[in-house]
């Protein structure tokens, strides 16, 4: 055990010992103090040492608890900020939908759509319902061509992707349409 000096009591917690005036201050895992002293200390000095140890113990414990509380609060806040949910529902952003303005229910014919968008990626009910994969290019416009969604370096562009669902009426004109965020 290290030699015990007066400033050890005031400034830090450690076990220390002195042959003549034995003083030991330690803490168990929970931070509860343990003060022992041997011969050489007067009653007044003993009380002062114990009082100092109590104050320092309370202070350290408070700081330790505060650190945990701060850390938990920070993590909880980070989780709340990061927490987000995207639902399977149509895109409502007017600017995005405006880019698909050529799609007019009751007017736009299937042939025109195929001419502009190409072959659908999926079809249902013998083609009455079709879907297209839609990509947002690095320049910010929508395209159905995967190549146009690639970055300048040739890597696959990791920007926003959508699915366009089109339902046709029996006369071959567009009946209903919706655009969805692609969830991967």
């Amino acid at each position: 055990m290290a030699p015990c000096r007066q400033r050890d009591v005031k400034t830090r917690f450690r076990h220390c010992a002195d042959h003549d005036r034995t003083l030991a201050i330690g803490h168990d895992f929970l931070g509860r103090k343990e003060v022992r002293q041997g011969a050489g200390f007067g009653a007044a000095e003993e009380r002062r040492v114990i009082a100092t140890a109590r104050i320092l113990t309370a202070s350290r414990l408070q700081r330790g608890r505060s650190a945990v509380a701060r850390a938990v609060r920070s993590a909880a806040c980070a989780l709340l900020v990061a927490a987000c949910a995207s639902y399977a529902e149509p895109v409502k952003n007017a600017d995005t939908l405006q880019e698909l303005g050529f799609l007019q229910p009751g007017i736009t014919a299937r042939d025109e759509i195929v001419a502009r968008l190409g072959t659908p990626s999926q079809n249902y009910e013998n083609g009455r319902i079709v879907s297209y994969d839609v990509y947002r290019t690095p320049e910010g416009r929508l395209t159905v061509t995967p190549a146009a969604g690639k970055g300048a370096t040739g890597e696959i562009f990791r920007g926003h992707r959508y699915t366009l669902i089109l339902v046709f009426a029996s006369d071959g004109t567009l009946d209903r349409e919706n655009l969805f965020d692609k969830h991967e």
Partner: protein
């Protein structure tokens, strides 16, 4: 150092969070599905492209994972502390069956095991369409 070690501790807390996930099917969307009335087109226009298709689209399914609780782990040593968190995921899916006219005949929202990637297979196996409906 002794003080830091003696005052060190670890806290593990479950923390409720707002829903986290992608492609979640909302309660409102589920309520809008009416067997005998809702068509395949209605479903596709409401929820987008399905993740599973079977038997010429007689069966469709939408898979997603969601979290409502996160685990926060905090560690402190003396005046210093650090914490991190991770969501606890649950895996869900919506399975639907259509008649030859393309109208919903039945549907169910199911809880899946993580490894159980095929929602429709799980649905066929369970056989009860009203598991979580």
């Amino acid at each position: 150092m002794l003080a830091a070690v003696s005052l060190s501790g670890c806290v593990i807390l479950p923390v409720p969070t707002p829903p986290i996930g992608h492609g979640l099917v909302s309660e409102d969307a589920l309520k809008s599905i009416k067997p005998g009335t809702t068509t395949r087109a209605d479903v596709l226009l409401a929820l987008g492209e399905p993740t599973e298709r079977e038997e010429s689209d007689r069966f469709l399914a939408y898979d997603w994972k969601e979290s409502h609780v996160s685990i926060v782990v905090a560690v402190a040593a003396g005046p210093y502390g650090a914490a991190g968190g991770a969501p606890i995921w649950s895996y869900r899916c919506l399975a639907l069956e259509f008649d030859p006219e393309g109208t919903v005949t039945r549907f169910a929202r199911l809880r899946r095991n993580k490894a159980e990637t095929n929602c429709l297979a799980a649905w066929h196996e369970k056989g009860d369409p009203s598991d979580e409906q």
